[in-house]
């Protein structure tokens, strides 16, 4: 029950009992970034108005991609392709929105494609995950089609929820092991922990991956979930997507610690910091966490630092974001950087191959768009039914095999207790 990471140094104090013991404690929070940005955002008055201002050094050079300890050339290209798919799909969604075909708004993962795609890429088939709203790339990696997401946004009959919910709010417990998110932030974390608990009862240590924003993590349920996974030693792989903003609120107003990864300390679990715009760092951190999960070593908290490069959703122009922040992070675009890495630095893709890949991705997205657009709207009556799982609507059986049952010599029947109880 000791903290996994801590190293308590309680030296006796030099000058007698009025002093407390040396109180220095050291912890390991690996920080894989090749650059540690140094700025803060503040609420300031300017004239009659309040606005956000950024302060710090925003002229540092763009860091290189960190070579992965695990990824092959082919895998890097595959992740790159998913990132392209992710972005093009979102561009297509933006166009569909402009054409009036989307119901409600559109949420983007612009600038966060590396985080979505390279994380999900580290999961095994039997692992589970749940996306948050910006992880539309994760869905592609897990085998959902772009048309699935597009149909969700257009509220089509062919969408995974048959029109009942939108965005990435859908799930699949049969093949792709995905829990549908709900809008309320944080509730997925204990749920994913529960998935791992269920699997473990069936004899399997699986990894369960999900995401939470720098804003969403402020919900109490986030920490109930982390703690549950920590105490139960469940294979939760939790990405905190520190993208600087929560709707219009800068992370400085969300919490007071420098890095959310430090929260791991208090839960006795490993905390790691990575550059969320570097696919290799994302993958390596995810992979190591997934391996810990498979080995029954418990949860990992990974803080991915990056920036939300659009507004909260399509209606939001993000005027409140100081322009220099956009400029800074635009230079750190995960796709451009990865492209450079693959094409120029590693020369794993020729310019021609890269262009072909992009063209292929665009073709795929166009085909998916067609499928999605051509799906009909649901009938009004399809609003009915399905509130309950009626007899025979599903066969429920343990996913990984029947739990092994401990045999004890204990009594064959339950106790007949007459013990004192709380209230009588």
């Amino acid at each position: 029950m000791n903290s996994l990471m801590s190293n308590h140094k309680n030296k006796p104090s030099p000058n007698g009992k009025r002093q407390h013991k040396s109180s220095t404690r050291t912890y390991s929070i690996p920080d894989y970034r090749l650059e540690v940005p140094d700025y803060i955002v503040r609420q300031v008055r300017s004239g009659d108005e309040f606005r956000y201002e950024v302060e710090g050094d925003l002229n540092t050079p763009v860091p290189p991609i960190r070579d992965s300890n695990y990824l092959s050339k082919q895998q890097c290209i595959e992740i790159y392709r998913y990132m392209l798919l992710n972005r093009r799909m979102e561009t297509a969604l933006e166009n569909l929105y402009k054409q009036g075909k989307v119901v409600g708004g559109v949420y983007f993962g612009l600038g966060q494609e590396a985080c979505s795609c390279a994380s999900a890429y580290a999961l095994d088939k039997d692992d589970w995950f749940a996306p948050m709203i910006r992880n539309q790339g994760s869905l592609l990696v897990r085998g959902f089609r772009a048309s699935d997401t597009m149909m969700q946004y257009m509220a089509k009959a062919g969408s995974p929820t048959k029109g009942r919910d939108g965005t990435s709010h859908f799930g699949d417990i049969e093949k792709r092991n995905m829990v549908s998110p709900i809008s309320m932030l944080g509730d997925l974390i204990p749920v994913l922990s529960g998935v791992a608990l269920g699997a473990r009862l069936q004899g399997r240590n699986i990894a369960v991956m999900t995401y939470i924003g720098d804003g969403g993590q402020s919900t109490g349920v986030t920490y109930e979930g982390i703690n549950f996974a920590a105490v139960q030693n469940l294979g939760l792989v939790l990405f905190i997507e520190s993208n600087l903003w929560a709707y219009s609120t800068p992370s400085e107003m969300q919490y007071r610690v420098k890095d959310l990864a430090e929260r791991a300390i208090g839960y006795g679990i490993p905390g790691v910091i990575i550059d969320g715009t570097d696919a290799c760092q994302v993958y390596d951190a995810a992979r190591e966490a997934v391996e810990r999960a498979h080995g029954g070593e418990g949860p990992t908290l990974i803080e991915a630092k990056m920036m939300r490069m659009k507004g909260h959703a399509i209606h939001d122009a993000a005027d409140y974001v100081p322009k220099p922040l956009f400029d800074y992070w635009k230079k750190r675009d995960p796709i451009t950087r990865f492209e450079n890495y693959l094409v120029r630095e590693k020369k794993w893709l020729s310019a021609k191959e890269n262009a072909d890949l992009i063209a292929e991705v665009e073709r795929v997205i166009e085909e998916e768009r067609e499928i999605a657009v051509n799906s009909p709207m649901p009938t009004p009556e399809s609003a009915e039914g399905g509130v309950y799982c009626e007899d025979g609507c599903h066969v429920i059986k343990p996913k990984y095999g029947l739990p092994k049952v401990r045999t004890t010599k204990s009594s064959a029947g339950p106790k007949q207790t007459e013990a004192a109880v709380h209230l009588k």
């Binding site: 108005e49 309040f50 509220a155 809008s183």
Partner: protein, 324 residues
């Protein structure tokens, strides 16, 4: 008199109270520089400063808790839920901490929990909810659901001045869709008093919020058929204006209750029980319910349309009841 939208009327109500009473302040997610997801508090931070327009972390139980704590020191906090759907995240704080306070230990808790509720905007299952019944069935709270700009302003001011915790549900469909003349003066609409939104003799529709407008539209159409509908706009569900309910029943003897939230356990049941108790002999036909379906609110427009009460449903049921 200036024409104000429902949203502008709410904004004006809060603004005026903040101007008048330095103990009033706002807190919630994105309410400061951004002015809130629906811009209800747009410009407030510039006028009143970040001390009185507090942008909070995403933590609904903390928001309600902090509002409550501040109210114990004599402040009058107005806390925003970005969407009323998220109020479930603060259920314990509201139900067990805030609502029971005065009854148990005598401390008044003059706070307002406000935010957008309701459907008809394709918000999907997590941005269309009408959670009012949880709070109606929770003694100690006042539950306020305005239908018009005039009422929205007057009820908001009444809620802020009220010494009890108020849940103020702003119907997001109405925010920018209805406009009317709203006096720029200081007036309140008292909590617990329903209003006749339209007088009629044949049949009463008891409703509130967005559906008042649905009922009005249906009544207009039915009037052409010679069916004169009386519409009772409840305004507040707690306290519920039992007198007004009884009176309209006495007058028309036939009642439709129209509400947006799902049917089972809805306010129509409570109203049916009250009518049974207090005007049983006046009733000339069964009390009909037109309500949301017993499911989550689906996202897709045809489904949402089917889920939610529509003008055509009201017309159909009214005809049926008229000829009972």
């Amino acid at each position: 008199m200036p024409q104000l939208t429902y949203l502008e009327a709410i904004r004006q109500g809060i603004w005026e109270e903040m101007e008048k009473d330095p103990t009033v302040f706002c807190l919630g997610e994105d309410i400061g520089i951004y002015g809130g997801a629906f811009k209800v508090t747009d410009g407030f931070i510039d006028r009143f400063g970040p001390e009185r327009v507090v942008d909070t972390p995403i933590a609904e139980s903390a928001i309600v808790g902090a509002a409550f704590g501040a109210s114990l020191t004599g402040m009058r906090p107005v806390a925003e839920f970005q969407f009323m759907d998220f109020i479930a995240c603060a259920m314990n704080q509201i139900s067990n901490m805030v609502a029971k306070t005065h009854y148990l230990w005598g401390a008044p808790a003059p706070l307002v929990l406000r935010g957008p509720s309701g459907g008809y905007v394709h918000g999907g299952p997590f941005h269309s909810q009408n959670p009012e019944m949880w709070f109606v069935h929770n003694p100690g709270l006042k539950v306020i659901c305005p239908a018009t700009p005039y009422d929205a302003k007057g009820l908001m001011k009444a809620a802020i001045r009220d010494n009890n915790p108020c849940i103020f549900l702003e119907h997001k469909y109405l925010y920018r869709r209805i406009k009317e003349e709203v006096p720029p003066d200081d007036y309140i609409v008292p909590l617990g008093k329903a209003r006749i939104a339209r007088a009629g003799r044949d049949l009463s529709i008891i409703t509130y919020a967005a559906l008042v407008h649905t009922a009005l539209e249906a009544a207009g159409a039915l009037s052409k058929e010679g069916i004169e509908i009386e519409i009772l706009d409840l305004r507040t569900l707690a306290p519920l204006d039992q007198e007004a309910i009884v009176q309209t029943v006495r007058k028309t003897s036939k009642v439709i209750v129209l509400h947006e939230h799902s049917r089972t356990g809805g306010i129509a049941g409570e109203i049916a029980a009250i009518i049974n108790e207090r005007a049983f002999d006046d009733l000339d036909g069964p009390i009909l319910r037109i309500t949301g379906l017993d499911s989550a609110v689906p996202f897709s427009p045809p489904q949402e349309h089917h889920y939610l009460p529509q003008v055509a449903d009201v017309i159909e049921q009214a005809r049926k009841l008229k000829s009972y």
